[in-house]
Amino acid sequence: MIQNLRMEVKKLLKDKKVDIVLGWEKGSLPLSSTPLFIHEEEDVDRLIFDETCRNNLTTYLTKDKRKLGKTYDKIGIIVKGCDARSIVLYSIEQQIKKENVVIIGVPCNGVLEKKKILRKTENKEILESKIDGKNVHLKGRDFDMIIPLNEVLCDSCLTCRYPDAPVHDIFIGKPRKEVDIKDEYKNVIDFEKKSSEERWEYIKEEYSKCLRCYACRNVCPACYCNECFVDQNDPQWIGKTPEVTDTIIFHLIRNLHVAGRCVDCGACVSACPVDLDLRIMNKKVEKEVKERFDYTAGLDINEKPAMASYCENEKQDFIMG
């Protein structure tokens, strides 16, 4: 598959169908990959695609006030299912011109969550790693273990319905339309069953660890505001310290800002340096949007965004009598 992918990318560059291709290459740490910006054909041999390709590259399309789109006319980008949905989102929200982006889909079987792996090795450093079919083989200074892949995949991948790009220009292989997932909102439903005291205690405990580094916001493709609400100081909306109520409001509002736009790529969870449970809130918002408006982000390039459209028959059960 990787050979086909590389051939395809080389062809696109040679035929001048694109000026740059965004993909991944092997990272400097075991089990990691890093974004690769390919300008020349000779760089294409560094391209990889496997379970370490965690990053959602679409965020570079809106980074730095859309600098990439201003520097290059045509951009090729290699995408997993969730990533492609981000591009659909960009197209709907008019952040990119779809005709200037060549979407290259690849078949995704899920990506690794390094934090889960480190829990398995009890935080001992991994020196060598190999992904072998359904298992990942890890070697450290004093351990050697084989772990089934599905135990260390990202939580987002375990509930992923659209592993392959639903909208694409090129696909390496045959894309799956939709994968049936049972209980994708099980965490949310279980959480909602708890008493309000229990829920508050959990949220308070969890979010008191937040450093306010904004890695989650910066790595998220849906967050591309030129000035984020946390940075405004005239007026100041929330305090900048990691005081717990300020932090919870930051995450609450960020989740509401990405309501109906979050594709659950899990980049935020992987980026967080202190391993916060970030998906608890946005999975709930995703569930609400799906149930109330029958809308899933990023599937149809012609659909209006859920939060920007009105329907007279919307459920109004939250309004009291």
């Binding site: 740490l29 935080n123 910066n218």
Partner: protein
């Protein structure tokens, strides 16, 4: 050199707590950090590199500088004095020395009555640092590039080596000498054990990656200021603050006033040159609006400006930024790229 058996570690810490507040590496839910311990059971001695660096003891993520009400102003005092930090590593101990150049000591150019940060001094002048040697450095450690090392004693008060069954103490500073004289430990390390330290040092140093010659880093960074290589280096950075926040030497801060009606407070909190609005001015102009400019700034501050001002690089090679970066922008590769340009 005196020693304690590992089986007596609990007693040692309990005794230490009688006279000092003790800070040590703890597993703070999912991220490891240096926190004040209540009892010896809180200490996690199996962590080499905590996720959050110990700079947050001295330079917290958010610190109230003063509070005011109608009645007047109040400046908070550091309550934990004196305090001891167990489990520091050379990279972190050295970073405190670097931070002291900014917050504590006078600037390189001698000047009378140079401002010294009282919040920093209150803590730094009252701490006792136990620096433990790293027997098994991580693959992300590159302290040797910056003249540090797993068995380097710079900056510690007491240098500790961990063997299979003991901790061997060596006094390094006057404060450390006094502590060891006054403490009730009488057991001495045997000659065999002292020889073992040499062996442990050799093994530890063999784990480290080859020392890169960074002597040209200072001049090279200045030479390539206008070169397009910075675009290449900065391309994948997403400008979050993760690297600066886990770095033990990064010290940029923001000041925020939070007040309502007749009471309020002024807070100092961590900032990062990576953030888009770090240099946004009151006029609205932002001299570093582009990601490339900000990435270049961070590299220049660490490996050029600080050397210019204080004769050392603002980095101790702890490797935390390498581990935490969401896009695997490896600073070691950046350095190598610059020196070979």
């Amino acid at each position: 050199m005196i020693k304690i058996k590992k089986s007596d570690f609990n007693t040692f810490i309990n005794n230490l707590q009688k006279n000092y507040s003790v800070f040590a590496p703890v597993t703070d839910s999912k991220a490891t950090a240096f926190k004040k311990i209540k009892s010896v059971g809180d200490i996690n001695n199996n962590i080499l590199n905590t996720k959050r660096s110990p700079k947050e003891i001295f330079f917290p993520q958010s610190e109230v500088l003063f509070q005011y009400t109608e009645k007047g102003m109040e400046v908070p005092k550091w309550e934990e004095k004196p305090f001891a930090i167990w489990g520091m590593r050379n990279c972190d101990t050295k970073s405190l020395l670097l931070l002291d150049k900014v917050f504590g000591e006078a600037h390189q150019i001698p000047k009378k009555d140079m401002y010294k940060d009282p919040y920093w001094k209150e803590k730094y002048d009252n701490c006792l640092v136990f620096n433990i040697a790293c027997n098994e450095p991580l693959s992300t450690c590159f302290c040797n590039w910056f003249d540090g090392g797993p068995f380097d004693k710079t900056g510690s008060d007491i240098f500790v080596v961990e063997t299979d069954d003991s901790y061997i103490f060596e006094a390094v500073s006057d404060k450390g000498k006094k502590f060891l004289n006054d403490c009730k430990i009488t057991e001495n390390a045997s000659d065999k054990e002292i020889k073992k330290i040499e062996k442990l040092k050799e093994t530890a140093e063999s784990y480290l990656a080859i020392k890169e010659d960074i002597s040209s880093l200072f001049s090279k960074t200045k030479e390539i200021w206008d070169e397009p290589i910075w675009d290449e280096i900065a391309a994948k950075c997403i400008n979050c603050g993760a690297c600066a926040f886990v770095c033990p030497t990064c010290h940029c801060f923001d000041v925020s006033d939070e007040g309502k009606d007749k009471k309020g407070k002024r807070i100092r909190l961590w900032d990062s040159c990576m953030f888009a609005i770090f240099t946004k001015e009151a006029s609205g102009h932002n001299p570093r609006s582009q990601s490339t400019q900000r990435v270049r700034q961070r590299v220049m501050h660490k490996y050029n400006y600080f050397m210019d001002n204080y004769d050392e690089h603002l980095c101790t090679g702890c490797g935390r930024c390498v581990v935490v970066c969401p896009v695997n922008l490896d600073i070691r590769e950046v350095i190598k790229k610059i020196i070979s340009y």
